[in-house]
Assembly symmetry: C2
Homo-oligomer: 473 residues x 2
């Protein structure tokens, strides 16, 4: 199998050379040494047999619980992450500050008024202002229908976008689903609305609404904006089918000054090229409704455990494995942006990065941004991942959220695609709790990250990280 | 098949005669005429093809929503039921008053204090007083462990009973599960507790706690008592495994005067013996957290629809079919007790009764209290139910909750046992909403009740309803 792959690689190398014959300096073909490939089976099996990823996830979700960026619990999460890195024996542990405006949720309540009076289960969207609004509800089947509403047509009314997000293994339904959250409020205000309601961007049928950040376009006066649980959206749609309905939405929430949290970082030092870094990680903050188990304690647990297992090897790989627990992903990738800014002049040293932030479902696919000269190494990594049920899926996906700002500057990325079929049943809801995680699936993720990080850190040659300006030349 | 059943019936008749040879007056063998049996297949198929049961269930849960006994919504539910009976063309529609003390829930909140500070999702048990209590939590694995706690051992503390209810098709896990709710608070107070927490009596893993009535023993001062959602019980148990935990429970709830609601009753008049009644029904009230879809709008929808389908037949059966929408089942069978009291001198006229109050899962079994002289007729009913996938299960089960007070006075009962495997995932939670009901399973229930009620109302001879005093002689 290896011989065959190498033959293919050689062919591609020649094709690559032919295609870029005009280039002055052809990059060296990246390759993973046989000794590193040979070390993989034991690492993979140890990871599959280890409970460490689950234990870390349990520790964070239990001891800290929900950890909204900027909250007291967020500060405890930072202390927890620092202590956990130390406890696990990382070679270097430090924090880097991340500053942002702090949003707080204090209370929220929705109700249908009049002849069909009843409570509605809803949750304020992150970024929503507080306020109590009362008016007739106008239903829109989707965002496009709201966008088509003429200015003034919603004066004194609440918009309700009733779009049903689709379930998909790769989470592709979340694109249109989350646009209803990010764009809907501003569109509603443009049409005159005094409040905004949406069917949760979720795929479940439980009485647990899905929160998430929204933004208001500049120049607009924000209005109370909330997501109904899926059964409540069903209910409101049925009530509206019977006749006009008035609702009252009372939200106490809003922006409250500036807060500083921290990216918490731990290194497993490379044995021969410690200044070269393979970065893995997840985000430390969560929404406030659940305990952020799948979003994203799992990512923290998976990547901390993977690096720890590599650190336990008798011989560290050549490069440093860095785990970053990013601050405030949920409200705008603040941790990822801060990391990219703080390390802007170290792009080339960051060989490749992969983030786990899509729950705890099994990894089914591997892809990366690897340029031609690193594709043979990518196939070696895929070969080592194959026994975990992971397919090589070149050309798919993109970088995880917190590494995307750095990737936009030229960082090479890899993606270990997780099965997200059930992810949006839980995402951003009170129901995002530890019991939803299958320890065996989590261990498969740990194994995948361990194998990927170990091989990338053992590679001879790079994965294409280059300052974006240089790439564009 | 019919010939064979009749031969068996004749044999049993003789056996019955032999066994009770000493009796002065041997009851006539109850029998269902061939013409009635012949009418069943068409009735059954019409019921399976009808959406009526679902439409009624949708109407009640949507237009009224949650309807806690004694609330404004409960009064709307009474008006709804009366109007629905009229709209469906019942021959006689009326209400009978049911008076009880009114319990109200206004707000509730739980939190872990200290180093692991976090919110707990809980709901006050029905009957809980209001109050804010704060103290250390003491966990008990089950009710027996709490019962063994010495007096004074919980002084200043909160008891937490962490019993995990078991899933079962027949709901048999609810016996021990609900005793934790009914008995736990008093046991906790006896040991000195200032508050009571329990793992919800439920089989789900969602952030939706299960409420339900509790009672405090006479002479005890009630304390705030609440159920944690299953994930929150898991969380609190994990936290307690790490060390002592203090919690604060703040409940605003309590008894607030007397309320009068109503049993709402509709008759489909019998063609030749209208004074003889076959009673079916469910309960109209619900808890306040969900919209009471499976508990028990489904029972209302099933039995109203079954009776309406019988009423639509060219020829009504001999006896009257009566549908009772019972008031305030949830807080102590008030409607059932009031009906039994109001009709105490009509036990013999009430031929047999069956209540639907176990969700919307398919019926899998038929049983009844039928004495020997009515067992052949019971087998005829079972034979007519068999094409619906329903087995004859004589000797199992008991009367539904609202007919149990009347059954204790001598009323004959039948039971159409529903598959309750998933019932306690939803029971008494915010998640008890219409989307959880499978319309096809609901139609199978309607067909079962229609067949049962039609045949019982067509029978020649009785099903054994006799004042209990007479039975004991």
């Amino acid at each position: 199998m290896r011989v065959s792959l190498r033959a293919v690689a050689a062919t591609l190398m020649m094709a690559g050379a032919a295609m870029t014959a005009a280039s002055a300096a052809e990059p060296r073909q990246t390759h993973i040494p046989e000794a590193a490939m040979a070390a993989v089976p034991e690492l993979r099996e140890r990871a599959l047999a280890s409970d460490l990823g689950y234990e870390i996830t349990e520790s964070l979700t239990t001891e800290v619980g929900a950890r909204l960026a900027g909250s007291e619990a967020d500060a405890r999460a930072v202390a927890w992450a620092r202590a956990k890195f130390e406890e696990l024996g990382f070679d270097k542990v430090w924090v880097e500050p991340v500053t942002f405006l702090k949003w707080e949720r204090r209370s929220e309540r929705g109700e249908v008024l009049g002849a069909n009076a009843q409570q509605l289960t809803l949750t304020a969207l992150g970024g929503s202002p507080g306020g109590t609004v009362e008016g007739e509800v106008v239903r829109f089947a989707d965002l496009a229908a709201l966008e088509a509403a003429p200015a003034g047509s919603l004066d004194g009314k609440l918009a309700f976008v009733d779009y049903k997000m689709e379930r998909a293994r790769d989470g592709s339904g979340y694109g249109p689903g989350s646009r209803v959250r990010s764009r809907g409020p501003s569109e509603a205000i443009e049409a005159g609305a005094i409040g905004y309601l949406m069917r949760s961007a979720g795929t479940d049928s439980h009485r647990n609404p899905h929160t998430g950040i929204t933004r208001f376009d500049e120049g607009l006066t924000p209005v109370p904006s909330a997501a109904l649980s899926v059964p409540d959206a069903d209910q409101l749609a049925r009530l509206l089918a019977l006749g006009p309905q008035r609702v009252r939405v009372a939200i106490d929430a809003g922006w409250n000054g500036e807060a500083t949290s921290y990216n918490v970082i731990g290194d497993i030092r490379g044995s021969s090229k410690p200044e070269e870094v393979v970065l893995i990680g997840g985000h430390l903050d969560s929404w406030d409704l659940g305990t952020g188990a799948i979003d994203d304690a799992a990512g923290i647990g998976i990547t901390m455990a993977a690096a720890k297992l590599i650190g336990d090897l008798p011989q560290h790989p050549a490069r440093t494995i860095r785990v970053v627990a990013f601050a405030n992903e949920e409200q705008g990738l603040y941790g990822g942006k801060a990391y990219a800014a703080a390390h802007a002049d170290e792009i080339t040293a960051h060989q490749i990065a992969a983030e786990s932030d899509f729950g705890a479902g099994r990894v089914y696919g591997y892809s990366s941004s690897a340029p031609a000269h690193a594709q043979a190494a990518g196939r070696q990594i895929a070969q080592a991942l194959a026994p975990l049920g992971i397919k090589h899926m070149p050309g798919t996906g993109g970088p995880g959220p917190d590494i995307s700002p750095f990737a936009a500057q030229g960082l090479a990325w890899a993606r270990l695609s997780q099965d997200g079929t059930d992810y949006f049943d839980l995402h951003h809801t009170p129901d995002d709790t530890l019991d939803k995680i299958d320890p065996e699936a989590l261990a498969q993720n740990v194994a995948a990250y361990a194998v990927f990080a170990y091989l990338a850190a053992s590679a001879e040659g790079d994965f294409g990280s280059t300052p974006a300006a240089a790439k564009e030349e």
